[in-house]
């Protein structure tokens, strides 16, 4: 019996592994389990080799395990190239179709147990039968997932295709399950937990979209880019339904400038992109900073530099997000640390941007963004404050858009407000908003734009912290998931260890960090970047314990819980 079971389905383009993976996840959800699914595919636009990586569990899971328990290969076309992404152990079971030839060398090298199943032949015994349905049935049987919910999901999914297709699939699933009866499964799922926790099936990109609208975003202008497009695809119809709008712009520069215009007009505005698009937006992002126009930019990070690896994850846009603007340009940078946290962090980003009249960048990544998980429904949060707007001015009253206030935040007049006409400006300016090159005005406005961020009390959300002890792991973003799992394992072994996962990258929070690190004498920084960008950022702005190590690696391979446990072991006495 196992708390979690990990399955990979692979095959070439037409094999339908993605559909099968999705159905498996949904069926597990119906059965009361939690789960996670990610995808991998070859370089072809369509029809190349593909893999659906699914983990099912009795508790929420945010990351894949160190290895997969079961690999089902409908065919072997180029599956070898995925091998590093599909770690197996000698306990793993590989199930493949003898008609499809030899298991590739790279997979065989893991030394898994091997079994055969003639998916193709079995499918042919059923009218309209498909190998992927045979495979699905086999998987259910092998991991102890009840067939009922699977049949329900498949029937539901094929509603539009009619009864014949539904019956064929159901028959396939049953046939696969029957054929697998002889084969010993690699692990059997513990029974699903009882009780009525509402569970959602959501991807990180959808979650970011939802966080945006929860935060009040009603205007989006954007240009498609992998792996951020699904944020936009979710937002477009839903914004329309909510009385907002998504505009597909001619490029990223237009996108962010449309957002600035809409936000100037009073509507909370957002755009989503990935590294190359973020790079193009930076000049205008700076305009948001100087003119104090709130906007949110979601960057779903992918491998870099340049076009890099568009379909794979990496945490290497930290530098550009934190430091990428010309001039002294304080702004907000936030990062969700799990799929469901994309809801909260994006919502919080909107809240902070609007409250502080400052542009924000949300650093999600391909790993979170394109993964789909079954998770407990993300809690409803409602923040109290909103954009501070100016009241109408009487004739003769002067409205100072950039007034120096105690908080650094000045009431912003929304067009339509009588008597408060002003010109938003990216040139340095007086309190009134008139361009000025005087040292005094420059310093006053620089101080203001900085202080409004650093003086604001962000409360506890700046980081997720857990655990105790003198050893800590400091991480951020999607790397938090394997760290959490690694630390949970260590704690299960009675070890004491702390986690600090930074959600608010800027403005930096030196006091809160000092408190979080109080008593820590050994620190491991973990991140997915070749240059150890996070580590250097921490060095620049925080005082770290004397003994600091860094575990950094570029994408696309994720950092796995087991590796983290290994890295920490020497410190775990």
């Amino acid at each position: 019996m196992a708390e979690s079971v990990a399955v990979v389905l692979t095959g070439s383009g037409g094999a339908g592994v993605m559909t099968a993976g999705q159905m498996l996840l949904e069926a597990a959800a119906k059965a009361g389990y939690y789960g996670l699914m990610t995808r991998s595919s070859g370089p072809q636009i369509r029809g190349g080799e593909a893999a659906a990586l699914v983990r099912l569990s009795t508790r929420p899971v945010a990351v894949h395990d160190d290895s997969f328990d079961l690999l089902v290969a409908f065919d072997w076309s180029n599956v070898g190239r995925f091998a590093p992404e599909l770690p197996l152990s000698s306990d793993s079971l590989v199930l493949s179709d003898p008609a499809q030839g030899e298991m590739p060398q790279e997979i065989a090298a893991y030394g898994p147990r091997v079994a055969e199943m003639a998916f193709g032949k079995l499918a042919k015994t059923i009218k309209g039968g498909r190998p992927n349905m045979i495979g699905l049935g086999a998987v259910a049987k092998l991991i102890g997932l009840p067939l009922e919910p699977l049949l329900e999901v498949v029937t539901e999914a094929l509603k539009r295709k009619g009864a014949e297709a539904q019956d064929a699939s159901a028959a396939g699933i049953r046939a696969g399950a029957a054929a697998a009866a002889e084969i010993g499964g690699p692990a059997t799922l513990d029974p699903a937990p009882e009780g009525g926790v509402e569970r959602w099936n959501i991807s990180g990109n959808e979650a970011a979209g939802l966080g945006a609208v929860r935060g009040g975003i009603r205007f989006v202008a954007a240009y498609p880019i992998t792996p951020a497009t699904e944020v936009l695809e979710w937002l477009a119809p839903n914004l329309a339904d909510l009385g907002g709008v998504l505009v597909q712009a001619e490029d990223e520069i237009a996108s962010i400038n449309m957002c600035l215009g809409a936000s100037f007009g009073g509507l909370p505005s957002l755009t989503a992109t990935s590294g190359p698009g973020l790079a193009l937006m930076l000049e205008s992002f700076g305009l948001g900073i100087a003119s104090e126009t709130p906007i949110v930019v979601v960057d779903v990070m992918r491998g870099g530099p340049s076009t890099g690896i568009p379909t794979k994850s990496e945490q290497s846009d930290l530098n550009i997000a934190v430091y990428g603007m010309h001039g002294d340009a304080p702004h907000l940078v936030l990062a969700p640390n799990a799929i469901e946290d994309c809801v909260f962090t994006t919502q919080w980003a909107v809240h902070l941007a609007e409250t502080l009249q400052a542009p924000a960048i949300v650093l999600s990544d391909q790993m979170m963004g394109q993964a789909r998980a079954v998770v407990p429904r993300p809690a409803d949060i409602s923040f109290m404050s909103r954009r501070l707007v100016a009241e109408p001015c009487a004739e003769g009253e002067v409205y100072n858009r950039y007034a120096l206030t105690a908080s650094g935040v000045s009431p912003m007049a929304v067009p339509g407000t009588q008597g408060c006409m002003y010109t938003a400006d990216g040139l340095e300016h007086t309190e009134r908003g008139i361009p000025s090159s005087l040292a005094g005005d420059h310093l006053a406005q620089l101080d203001k734009r900085k202080a409004k961020l650093t003086d604001y009390d962000v409360g506890d959300h700046w980081a997720d912290t857990e655990g105790e002890g003198s050893v800590a792991v400091l991480t951020w973003g999607s790397t938090t998931a394997p760290v959490r799992e690694a630390l949970a394992r260590l704690r299960r072994d009675g070890k004491k260890i702390r986690l600090i996962s930074v959600r608010l990258l800027t403005p930096v929070q030196p006091e809160k960090m000092a408190a979080a690190l109080d008593g820590v004498d050994k620190l491991l920084v973990i991140e997915q970047s070749h240059e150890a960008q996070f580590f250097h950022f921490l060095r620049a702005y925080y005082d770290l314990p004397a003994e600091v190590e860094v575990f950094n690696r570029p994408g696309p391979l994720p950092i796995r819980p087991g590796e983290i446990v290994e890295r920490l072991k020497p410190w775990m006495s």
């Binding site: 119906k30 009385g243 237009a254 957002c259 215009g261 009588q418 010109t423 400006d425």
Partner: protein, 276 residues
């Protein structure tokens, strides 16, 4: 409440322009305030958006809401304002460098997107703000810039041709030397639904002193009485254009892009779709 009608002066802010004495842009500003008075728009319901350049300084001089953005992006900002706030009157301004060089892509796509706003291109065939380089409308053999000592050697953009080819819904040319005529033209442009484009010949007396004699060259278009409503006809008229004929060339009736509609759902209903 029966308020006094607002005069052109009421639409002038109290900020002093930084323009050179004699710059054509002063007259564009005059035309803008006259046009606003003609339209009697509430000051707070007008947004004036621009990029960077001498001409792009205009928002601060108008008593309205303004956005002085970065170089070349005026039309994108203005589109955002109008899409988010259909109730506002949105006018964008900029120079030939701002609008046609670095901003060329937004010009192209704004023409075809057809958001209901007016774009006034203050064309002086030079980059005034950066002290006199060739712009996309500069003659190929203009040799006064140290950057292009043998002239830019490139065929100039003809803004009206380009606007028509890109699908602008209203296309006109005015002259800063005739602020009253220009004011009327801006009024028409603003009233016309969709994206209205007005090229204004506005001399740079500092870096193109010879433009002072534009007043001799400018003339009303022969077709001025009869505005073309069909693109090939407008193109035909342009074939004979000397670049100095003023008037409204074209007014079309393409549908306006205004994709924002009232809400039809509550967020809760959307969220329920995630439940599994």
């Amino acid at each position: 409440m029966t308020a006094q009608p607002l005069t052109a002066k009421d639409y002038k802010s109290d900020t002093k322009p930084i323009w050179c004495p004699g710059c054509g842009d002063y007259s564009v500003l005059a035309a803008v305030t006259k046009a606003l008075a003609e339209l009697q728009l509430p000051k707070e319901k007008v947004a004036v958006v621009s990029g960077i350049g001498c001409s792009s300084r205009i928002p601060a001089y108008v008593a309205a809401y303004g956005f002085h953005g970065v170089h070349g992006r005026a039309l994108a900002v203005a589109s955002g304002v109008k899409l988010a706030r259909p109730d506002l009157t949105v006018w964008a301004f900029g120079g030939d460098g701002d609008g046609l060089s670095i901003g060329g892509n937004h010009f192209l796509h704004s023409c075809r997107r057809n958001v209901d706003m007016t774009y006034v291109l203050m064309d002086n065939q030079v980059y005034g703000m950066t002290k006199g380089q060739a712009s996309p409308t500069t003659e190929p053999d203009w040799c006064e810039s140290k950057l292009t000592p043998k002239g830019p050697q490139v065929t100039p953009i003809r803004p009206l041709h380009l606007a028509l080819a890109c699908g602008a819904n209203f296309v006109a040319r005015g002259f800063s030397g005739d602020p009253n005529g220009l004011a009327k033209m801006i009024v028409e442009a603003s009233k016309h639904p969709g994206f209205s484009f007005v090229q204004v010949l506005s001399p740079c007396v500092t870096f193109r002193a010879e433009q002072r004699n534009w007043k001799q060259l400018v003339h009303e278009s022969e077709d001025a009485e009869e505005v073309a409503s069909d693109v090939p006809e407008a193109m035909r008229r342009l074939a004979a254009d000397d670049g100095f004929a003023t008037g409204i060339l074209y007014a079309g009736d393409r549908p306006v892009y205004q994709p924002m509609h009232p809400a039809v759902t509550e967020l809760a209903a959307i969220e329920r779709r995630f439940a599994s």
